[in-house]
């Protein structure tokens, strides 16, 4: 019997996360050199907004699932008891307000809570996947993870960045000693900085002792970011290493095709009008930095200094639209959890990153001051096996 899936989403238009993730259940997806058709069936869909271009009705007609007016009905498939084997919550895209920190108030917690209400009322729980971060609010995100633990259902969340292809195909050894780590990303907050922070986190969580949580964060922007580099607060060597992995330098490369050493040729401040630096201080003393360098590059690159291994660096390959095959990598992990009943990597990663991001944006709102984060003592261990696309 195929697994019966309910999809709970904000909006189902072309190239939204709902479209490319849920469609993979419907039409299959590339996995390990085959076009894989999951033994899963979408039986119901809740979609919060149906703007022009909505595909939910067309999909429902073609693939024979019901579009339900409420989440409860979607999970019960019109009956009076939970009637699905798993739930995908895809709360990305759609029109939702932003708060004063600039966070889009996607109703992921609200959707999740309604699922949990059904689980509690019906006395049975099923695995839940939550696309991207858990909630804009760490408190709500924490509630979500706590609920999954309390009711004992497997939960997976996060970005496709950790599970996509890497150039080179590289993983940090489990238990390595990381001296310093730096991630370079681009794109707006709080969508793309989340992806970049998950990329950073999936690497540093492999360090000796495992993840210990974050004790303080700070977000600075503008010229202060360059000054922090001059002061050695982030490593130019690591930035050089990360940018050496980029396929998308802007400026002179766009003008006449030349390669660039952006750290040394002085172009970086000209290209990046408003850099943001996210400083993450981990409880065990590791310090890591995310630089969001809009205008310099359009890809996501990582570098770390590792004891005994020197500088390690790579690009998280985000394959092009429209295929965005990296989302196939994510869906294969979702399928793995739905089939095996256990998450291939801990949801605590995404919990911590959700909180890091919120606190960084709070720091920005408080005049870029350093913010202690006692609530972010999230401890977990990285999966032993690498989870990125390799086969």
């Amino acid at each position: 019997m195929p697994k019966r899936i309910a999809v709970v989403t904000t909006v189902y238009r072309y190239l939204t996360h709902a479209q490319h993730e849920a469609d993979r259940i419907l039409v299959g997806y590339p996995r390990n050199g085959t076009w894989h058709h999951p033994d899963m069936k979408i039986v119901s869909l809740y979609v919060d907004q149906k703007p022009e271009g909505d595909l939910s009705e067309a999909r429902s007609r073609e693939f024979g699932f019901r579009v339900c007016p409420t989440i409860t009905e979607a999970l019960r498939c019109g009956g009076d008891k939970l009637a699905v084997d798993a739930v995908m919550i895809i709360g990305e895209h759609g029109h939702y307000p932003r708060n004063e920190k600039g966070q889009v108030l996607y109703p992921r917690y609200e959707f999740f809570k309604q699922c949990v209400d059904v689980f509690e009322k019906d006395g049975r729980s099923v695995p839940v996947f939550n696309d991207k971060h858990l909630s804009y609010s760490f408190e709500k995100a924490k509630w979500m993870v706590d609920a999954s633990r309390r009711l004992g259902f497997p939960m997976l969340a996060g970005s496709s960045v950790p599970v996509s292809w890497r150039l080179p195909d590289m993983e940090l050894p489990l238990g390595c000693e990381i001296v310093d780590a730096l991630m370079v990303g681009e794109g707006g907050s709080d969508a793309m900085d989340f992806h970049a922070l998950e990329g950073l986190q999936c690497m540093v969580e492999r360090r000796k002792g495992g993840e210990t949580g974050v004790r303080a964060v700070q977000l600075i922007e503008g010229d202060a970011v360059w000054k922090a580099g001059e002061d050695g607060r982030w490593s130019k060597e690591l930035l050089t290493a990360a940018l050496s992995r980029s396929d998308t330098p802007q400026g002179l490369t766009v003008k006449d095709g030349r390669t660039q050493d952006l750290v040394r040729n002085g172009e970086l401040p000209k290209l990046v009008k408003n850099p943001w630096a996210y400083f993450i201080e981990y409880t065990d003393g590791l310090k890591a930095t995310l630089l969001m360098l809009d205008g310099a590059v359009t890809d996501f690159n990582f570098a770390a200094r590792v004891q005994g291994l020197g500088v390690q660096s790579m690009q998280f390959l985000l394959t092009p639209e429209p295929n965005v095959t990296y989302s196939a990598c994510l869906v294969s992990k979702v399928e793995e959890m739905f089939v095996n009943g256990s998450a291939p990597y801990p949801v605590e990663r995404t919990l911590l990153v959700s909180g890091m991001l919120e606190s960084c944006l709070t720091s920005r709102g408080l005049g870029h001051k350093r913010l202690e984060t006692p609530q972010l003592g999230v401890k977990y261990h990285a999966p032993r096996e690498s989870q990125h696309a390799r086969a």
Binding site: A241, P249, T259, D261, R264, P320, N323, A391
Partner: protein
């Protein structure tokens, strides 16, 4: 002993510097044309400006000191580069570029980039890039100087098989290191897989894109860098047959090439054109492919040891290079993508030129090619044979001249670090 501070600096610093200068090879580049995104720009620029390699901005430990450009167009960048890198001088002839204006060969290596530029096409559709003509001028300097240095030839050797063979033969008779080819064999792979050495490969397919006498060569190099690792090494090719248009679809339906390998290759693509509106990544049916691919081309060929390989140009369906093979002892096809970060909107840098330049560097430093030029001799002949079969109304074309036997390198030479 009293020595002045100046003398101290001179004796302690100058000696290692002189040694360093001695160790840095001097290179000449011989190009057809130099504009943004031309092969010359990608290759020569990496020697001048450096490039991202092994996690740093790497500057090749050698100096590109002379440049010959055959055609200076409106969008020429060579003069801007020469102005910004005064250590590189432009010369009006190939001989002068190699002798630095003197009477004798004065460089330690030559980079020949004969791609792009305005050159006539023949009746078979081959662009007559003057790689052979440039090569002749290069070896004339070698002969006149009584000395030869390593040469790298970008892409295939010559559009004309006898000339290509002569290039190879001359490099052997004169005894200089000679490398050539595409960046496809040396770029990233997703997944990062190598054909196991000594694998018993039964059939191989590449699904790629582009046109005849152009990207077909890249598709052939994609296949060749993998199948050459099979048991016994490369044995040469007996015949080539092209299929185009309706014949392509007929051959596809009849299983002339294995459909499962074609499908496995397609599942490695990151650029499948969606066959259905509103779907971003859906596997195409044969009918979808017919609708999307206006001018499909296949070259199928049989190697001397019985291996059958097929290169499929499916412009309109994919925009990447995907490989699949059937290997004895494996239930599933072996497949990967040779990943080109293509600056067609996806990227700004054609970074697949970085591993190509890095392999050149290693040859210029050691005097030994990092992979056999016989690979590209064979793919040059296969490209011409595919064109010939198309020209002969898609008749099978026997290729006794392609009985090229060689062994692959033990070490993988694709980009992994």
């Amino acid at each position: 002993m009293n020595i002045s501070r100046r003398e101290f600096i001179a004796t302690s610093a100058a000696a290692p510097l002189a040694l360093e200068a001695q160790k840095r090879p001097k290179l000449a580049a011989v190009c057809t044309i130099y504009f943004k995104m031309s092969h010359a720009q990608h290759i020569v620029g990496r020697f001048l400006e450096g490039y991202g390699w092994n996690g740093t901005h790497h500057h090749p430990p050698m100096d590109l000191v002379s440049l010959y450009v055959d055609q200076i167009g409106k969008d020429d960048l060579s003069r801007e580069r020469a102005a910004r890198f005064p250590e590189m001088k432009m010369y009006p002839t190939i001989a002068e570029a190699l002798t630095l204006g003197g009477g004798k060969l004065a460089v330690d290596g030559v980079v020949l980039v004969g791609e792009h530029g305005h050159y006539p096409r023949n009746e078979k559709g081959q662009t007559k890039y003057p790689r052979y003509e440039f090569f002749q001028q290069i070896v004339k300097v070698f002969r006149d100087s009584g000395r030869s240095v390593p040469v790298f030839n970008d892409k295939h050797l010559s559009w004309n098989w006898p000339w290509a063979k002569e290039m190879y033969d001359v490099s052997r008779s004169m005894g200089f290191a000679f490398m050539a080819g595409s960046s496809l064999p040396v770029t990233w792979r997703t997944p990062s897989l190598e054909m196991p050495a000594g694998a018993r490969v039964r059939e191989a397919v590449c699904v790629c894109y582009g046109g005849v006498d152009s990207y077909d060569f890249h598709g052939l190099e994609t296949i060749q860098c993998m199948v050459e690792r099979r048991a016994g090494g490369e044995s040469g090719v007996k015949w080539v047959q092209a299929y185009r248009g309706e014949n392509f679809w007929k051959a596809c339906r009849e299983g002339v090439w294995p459909r499962d390998l074609m499908d496995a290759a397609l599942t490695r693509s990151h650029t499948l054109i969606p066959a259905r509106k509103g779907f971003n990544n859906v596997f195409p049916s044969l009918d979808d492919m017919r609708r999307l691919v206006k001018d499909p081309v296949a070259y199928q060929y049989e190697h001397e040891d019985g291996l059958r390989s097929t290169m499929l140009l499916m412009e309109g369906l994919v925009a990447d290079f995907n490989f699949a093979a059937r290997i004895e002892g494996r239930a599933e096809p072996f497949s990967t993508q040779m990943y080109l970060p293509m600056p067609d909107g996806r990227t700004t840098l054609a970074n697949f030129f970085s591993p190509l330049v890095n392999n050149m560097e290693r040859m210029f430093l050691t005097g030994t090619p990092t992979y056999p030029v016989e690979r590209t001799l064979l793919t040059t002949g296969l490209t011409a044979a595919g064109v010939e079969s198309l020209y002969r109304k898609q008749a099978r074309y026997d290729t006794p001249h392609l009985a090229i036997r060689y062994q692959p390198t033990q070490e993988s030479t694709f980009w992994r670090t």
